[in-house]
């Protein structure tokens, strides 16, 4: 997790809140939130090696394929759910988004922007985009549901999901500047705080 992204997310996380991070990876973000915001955090991860890293950090983690359901987390009263750079890997991103807002008051979603100009140039030259942010070839990528900033915001609208806050990231991970002027073309990544 780039430190700049985690800084933005950190800003939206209330002190002492209960947080679930879907696709938590090695648990670095949760670890940081535990240390800086005193949260009670749980990660959800499918990769055993990453799970091991979470346990090493003392971050509680649950082995679970998010595509196979999120209903069991409903009874846990989370304040916030996070899905950083994972939603595009899911079979049903729209369902996942709604589920997250059923199990927590708010959610943070970050996603790579397929509308970013480099991706468009790739496509214009007749090839699937391969960029530093999306480095895998089409046949080996986990990103099965890529979208643009515009697509994502349209989905939010369709699902009656309120965008409480959003930040767009430049290539170097910073925000503001070019990315915020014309995000659909110039932002590498969108970071959203959502509410139903």
């Amino acid at each position: 997790m780039a430190t700049k992204l985690s800084k933005i997310i950190n800003h939206w996380v209330p002190e002492n809140s209960k947080v679930i991070d879907f696709g938590c990876g090695d648990g670095s973000l949760l670890k940081e939130l535990i240390e800086t915001k005193n949260i009670l955090g749980y990660g959800v991860e499918i990769n055993n090696l990453k799970i091991e890293k979470c346990i090493e950090k003392g971050v509680p983690v649950i082995k679970q394929d998010i595509d196979k359901g999120m209903n069991e987390f409903k009874s846990s009263n989370f304040d916030l759910s996070i899905m950083a750079r994972s939603i595009q890997c899911l079979k049903n991103p729209d369902l996942a988004l709604n589920r997250m807002l059923e199990l927590s008051k708010r959610c943070v979603v970050t996603l790579p922007n397929l509308g970013y100009w480099r991706c468009r140039i790739n496509l214009a030259s007749g090839k699937m985009p391969v960029t530093p942010e999306l480095p895998s070839s089409w046949y080996e990528t986990e990103n099965i549901h890529l979208c643009t900033i515009k697509d994502f915001e349209n989905l939010c609208k369709k699902e009656n999901i309120k965008i409480k806050d959003k930040v767009f990231l430049n290539k170097d991970g910073s925000h503001g500047g070019l990315a915020s002027i014309k995000p659909n073309l110039l932002a590498v990544e969108g970071v959203y705080l959502l509410e139903k």
Partner: protein
């Protein structure tokens, strides 16, 4: 690794969940490693239904410990760093008070009159053991199967005396199917003509055939279908190593051999008692698991195995969810596990790593 074996007497006795009482009792224990100066490195291992106090290392009489792949110098539960204790549970037949020990009141073996003991009673007796060993708290209580149930019960019953609980291949309660299997096992013992309603000691016989059949059934439930297939398939047993001329397939020979071995040392009344304890355990006390777990302070590591159909991984997940609903730091990890329910006994790099990191985090 040095194994220290002790027989510890508890003259104060124990009141049991059933309402019964043991006026005094003994626990046989093994321990490995040294208790450090701050007394912060003690680990309790809880054995599964047919296990005993011999968890690790090699013993002349008892062979290799049941958790030797996980417990020992530089292993997942490292006896160079931790002081590790394991006792034979009450009602067992490996040295602690049980059906085969003498009842001081009658000067005869308890036999079938040994009172019904439960997982809660075991945990209470282990707490008495902890006090006697002058251990202020356990850094970890861990076990698989019925041992995992004890680890869970420890975290519920003594929230201030346990930092971490390792609950492996276990459930918060036995399923209907678990109880059903155990009843078939018990019935085979009870219907052995040498059982004599549990008073076989007086007749100088043991219901060996019943125990053997019970164990054969047990073994089927401990292994996965896949493992049985890959290990035995439909291979025929070679003539020279057949335990019996009726045997055709290797799997039959294996079950016959394992059942026979087990029936030579395991006590029938103990078998009935231990399976009754397993069937009877319900962490939620028939009401609500979540409510039962609300005072837990320990961190929980729940591990399941996909190949385990006796206590499927999902049953472990129920514990994690109930823990998470109570804001308890709890993790749930699943491994493939080649050995079915028995997978918790075996080392794999990923399983050992997770245990080790949980202990040290």
């Amino acid at each position: 690794m040095k194994i220290k074996t002790e027989q510890i007497h508890f003259s104060e006795g124990l009141s049991l969940e059933s309402g019964g009482r043991l006026d005094s009792f003994d626990l046989i224990i093994e321990s490995y490693g040294e208790l450090n100066e701050s007394k912060s490195n003690a680990i309790l291992l809880c054995h599964a239904f047919s296990g005993n106090h011999h968890a690790a290392g090699e013993d002349e009489e008892l062979g290799i410990g049941w958790w030797d792949q996980i417990v020992g110098p530089k292993k997942a539960i490292d006896t160079e760093k931790y002081y590790v204790v394991c006792c034979n549970n009450l009602g067992g037949c490996a040295g602690s008070s049980g059906p085969t020990t003498i009842n001081a009141a009658t000067n005869k073996v308890f036999g079938k009159d040994f009172p019904l003991v439960t997982v809660d009673d075991w945990v209470n007796s282990q707490k008495m053991l902890m006090d006697k060993l002058d251990i202020p708290y356990w850094h970890l209580v861990a076990g698989g199967s019925l041992g995992g149930m004890q680890a869970l019960q420890w975290s519920i019953a003594y929230p201030d005396k346990i930092k971490k609980a390792g609950i492996f291949a276990a459930a918060a309660k036995s399923s209907t199917q678990n109880i059903a299997m155990n009843e078939v096992a018990r019935e085979s013992i009870r219907k052995d003509k040498n059982f004599h309603n549990g008073d076989y000691y007086d007749h100088n016989v043991t219901p060996k055939n019943g125990i053997k059949t019970a164990r054969m059934l047990g073994h089927i439930t401990y292994l996965s279908e896949e493992l049985m297939d890959s290990r035995f398939g439909r291979k025929f047993q070679d003539e020279a190593s057949k335990v019996d001329q009726d045997v055709d397939f290797e799997v039959e020979n294996y079950l016959q051999y394992k059942g026979e071995k087990f029936s030579e040392f395991f006590d029938a009344n103990s078998y009935i008692l231990m399976t009754k304890a397993m069937d009877g355990y319900d962490a939620g006390k028939g009401i609500d698991l979540e409510e039962a777990m609300e005072n837990i302070k320990a961190e929980l590591l729940i591990v399941g195995f996909y190949s385990d159909w006796l206590y499927p991984a999902e049953r472990g997940k129920e514990i994690q969810i109930a823990g998470m609903n109570n804001n308890i730091k709890s993790s749930f990890v699943v491994f493939d596990g080649e050995h079915g329910h028995d997978s918790f006994l075996f080392h794999s790099k990923e399983y050992s790593n997770v245990i080790k990191k949980f202990i040290e985090s």
